[in-house]
């Protein structure tokens, strides 16, 4: 499965890029996080505390245990501060 992975705010800054493509067989968001963590120190840092992170699949907020079946775009970001 080929995914677009997007990062926003300080997640983007820590990882050092806003977007990347990834070929993965991760079944859930959590599997994807584990896979990213093992890549490089900056990923391990960005994903060190998941309570400080939010995730969206195909532009809908979801949970870290959500399945990635059919997903095209996964985004990681800190809690939102709109308004």
């Amino acid at each position: 499965m080929k995914l677009d992975i997007l990062y926003f705010a300080w997640v983007r800054e820590r990882i050092g890029l806003p977007k990347e493509k990834l070929e993965t067989s991760a079944a859930t968001v959590m599997d994807l996080v584990e896979e990213l963590r093992t890549r490089e120190e900056r990923y391990a840092m960005a994903f060190s505390d998941l309570t400080a992170l939010r995730v969206a699949i195909d532009q809908e907020l979801t949970d870290f245990d959500a399945a990635l079946d059919g997903a095209r775009e996964v985004a990681f970001f800190p809690p939102m501060t709109g308004g």
Binding site: F8, W10, T81, G82
Partner: protein, 147 residues
């Protein structure tokens, strides 16, 4: 329903007037505007708002649609800016039109509570001391418990 996500400033007076003028069958019009506070002696130089193009519009439409399902509303307006802002600039506004004031007020508060922590915007402050991402406040998350 009108949802606008834009970097350009908006005209609060004109938007408020036009929204009210378009709904004269509604007895109650409520508006909320959010402002980058311009506080004397404050070190804030500017604010940058990052957003998630594509998801932002969807999230705002979802929030506004939920408000329209929950309350008896004639219409809802949401304008939210992203990009560079200076102290005193308006960040966003919402407006609600309803037959009765209770619906107009509650729907506007609901929109604001959800916009704060469910729409993909992130504020970054540039002050004399450096650059910092604004932290989400636990009271903003708690505010959702009301609905």
């Amino acid at each position: 329903m009108r949802i606008a996500v834009q970097s350009d400033p908006f005209d609060l007076g004109k938007e408020s007037e036009d929204f009210a003028a378009g709904h004269t069958d509604m007895g109650a019009i409520v508006t909320f505007a959010g402002v980058v506070r311009d506080i004397e002696g404050d070190t804030l130089d500017r604010m940058v708002i990052e957003h998630y193009p594509g998801m932002t519009e969807k999230a705002l439409i979802k929030i506004a649609s939920e408000a329209q399902e929950r309350w008896s509303l004639g219409d809802v307006l949401v304008i939210h800016r992203y990009g560079d802002m200076r102290p005193g600039d308006r960040i966003m506004m919402v407006a609600t039109a309803a037959p009765h004031r209770k619906d107009a007020f509650e729907a506007a508060e609901y929109l604001m509570d959800y916009l704060k922590s469910r729409a993909p915007f992130w504020k970054q402050e540039f002050t004399a001391d450096g650059v910092e991402w604004v932290s989400a406040k636990s009271e903003d998350e708690d505010a959702l418990g009301r609905w």
